[in-house]
């Protein structure tokens, strides 16, 4: 395995995403669910569309 390469790539990815992409930052005001089924139910209840984010945990 290219462990140094993989490690470097992983670190770089997270540095870039955490630093250069504010998209990743927590939104303090809007509530974020962490359960897909719950999101579907909530969308049915509120008749809102869903903004679904998939991301890897650091």
């Amino acid at each position: 395995m290219r462990k140094p390469e993989a490690l470097f790539s992983t670190v770089l990815t997270w540095v870039l995403l955490a630093g250069a992409s504010p998209l990743l930052a927590q939104d303090d005001e809007n509530r974020w669910l962490d359960n897909y089924r719950e999101a579907i139910q909530e969308a049915k209840r509120t008749q809102k569309p869903i903004f679904l984010e998939f991301r890897c945990e650091p």
Binding site: S21, D34, E53
Partner: protein, 349 residues
């Protein structure tokens, strides 16, 4: 605070149910299919699981080449508009793709789910490909060279403006695309974001010779037929974490026909190429002893290929990861042979 509710983005987000998923265990990955080497990816959808659009996508340069808060706001606005159309019955309901859950991917179950490890996106992509390889169904042009780069067509986007074109050259320019055009559809499928565009561009058959790109030019939709250049699907795979790609730890550039004639090598279809860079991992992994300037003109006695134009591309396409091959090499005018052991990455937790 990046998106307070009284900010434009906060107001947009407050009109959605927002959900953040970090484990894929119970997710229908058939519905949410994408290039699995994206660290971050979004879908705008509804409670009927109808997907309006995607937001995300990356290229070999960076994970966030196409992530931008302005373009995200545009996408959020468009998502609300599409939702209004859907609720009024003005938007055609799409057929749901065939469901596929992580528990249906045997190697993922055996090596990840059974160990209660995190079902990460890139693991789904890798294990799907490993199964394809085992079943003889791996099409490397499609499954390994995923997410072709639109810049190969000569399209540079004005990223904050979403799909508005900033610069045009090469094939896109020849087809009539101009700066300021907004990409609106590819082969007839509407696209609203770079994520949409990249996903549907990826669906193009690798043997295709042309694609139809529809652009919105000052409110008028114009169909452009773009001639796909040779190896339009090729991308730098370095950032990808998977096991199906034979890592070779060198780059080479294809010889010109004249250079091939000078060396008395196969011209038409010959993949003879000159080494321009040797990765430090070649020595660390004892993969091979190639040097910059070497000409590699054969692999296991084969010198030509209908697709590959360099030796390393030939190995990546025609060999399996971990395989050892014999290279035919010209070094300082002398012909010699040497072994190359390709490397199979193993990155799983």
């Amino acid at each position: 605070m990046l998106s307070p509710t009284d900010s434009p983005r906060g107001k947009l987000l407050s009109q959605y149910v927002c959900a953040r998923i970090t484990r894929m265990d119970g997710i229908d990955v058939g519905l949410f299919d994408r290039d699995w080497n994206n660290t971050l990816y979004y879908f705008m959808m509804n409670a009927d699981e109808q997907i309006y659009m995607r937001y995300g996508g990356r290229d070999a340069r960076s994970p966030d080449s196409y992530l931008n808060l302005s373009s995200l706001e545009r996408a959020l606005e468009k998502g609300l508009e599409l939702d209004r159309q859907y609720q009024k019955g003005e938007l055609k309901k799409a057929d749901r793709p065939k469901p596929l859950f992580p528990r249906e991917i045997p190697l993922l179950v055996e090596r990840t789910i059974a160990r209660n490890a995190c079902v990460e996106c890139h693991l789904i992509g890798d294990y799907l490909n490993v199964h394809r390889e085992q079943d003889g169904k791996l099409d490397k042009l499609t499954h390994m060279y995923r997410s072709p780069d639109i810049r190969t067509l000569g399209i540079e986007l004005d990223v904050p403006k979403g799909l508005v074109v900033k610069e045009v050259r090469d094939a896109a320019a020849a087809a009539g695309m101009t700066p300021g055009d907004r990409l609106a559809a590819i082969n007839g499928t509407p696209v609203w974001t770079f994520g949409d565009l990249q996903y549907h561009y990826d669906e193009v058959n690798r043997n295709a010779e042309r694609i139809q790109m529809t652009v919105d030019r000052a409110g008028t939709l114009i169909d452009l037929s773009i001639a796909l250049p040779e190896r339009w699907w090729w991308t730098d795979l370095t950032f990808r974490q998977w096991t199906i790609e034979p890592r070779v730890y060198f780059d080479s550039v294809s010889l010109t026909d004249q250079e091939k004639r000078d060396q008395n090598l196969v011209e038409r279809g010959g993949f003879a190429s000159k080494v321009r860079r040797v990765d430090m991992f070649a020595e660390m992994t004892k993969s091979h002893e190639l040097r910059v300037g070497d000409i590699v003109f054969g692999v296991d006695g084969v010198q030509r290929d209908e697709v590959a134009n360099t030796a390393e591309l030939f190995i990546k396409l025609r060999k399996t990861a971990g395989e050892t091959v014999t290279l035919d090499v010209i070094r300082d005018g002398k012909r010699l042979q040497m072994k190359l052991k390709s490397y199979k990455m193993s990155f799983r937790k």
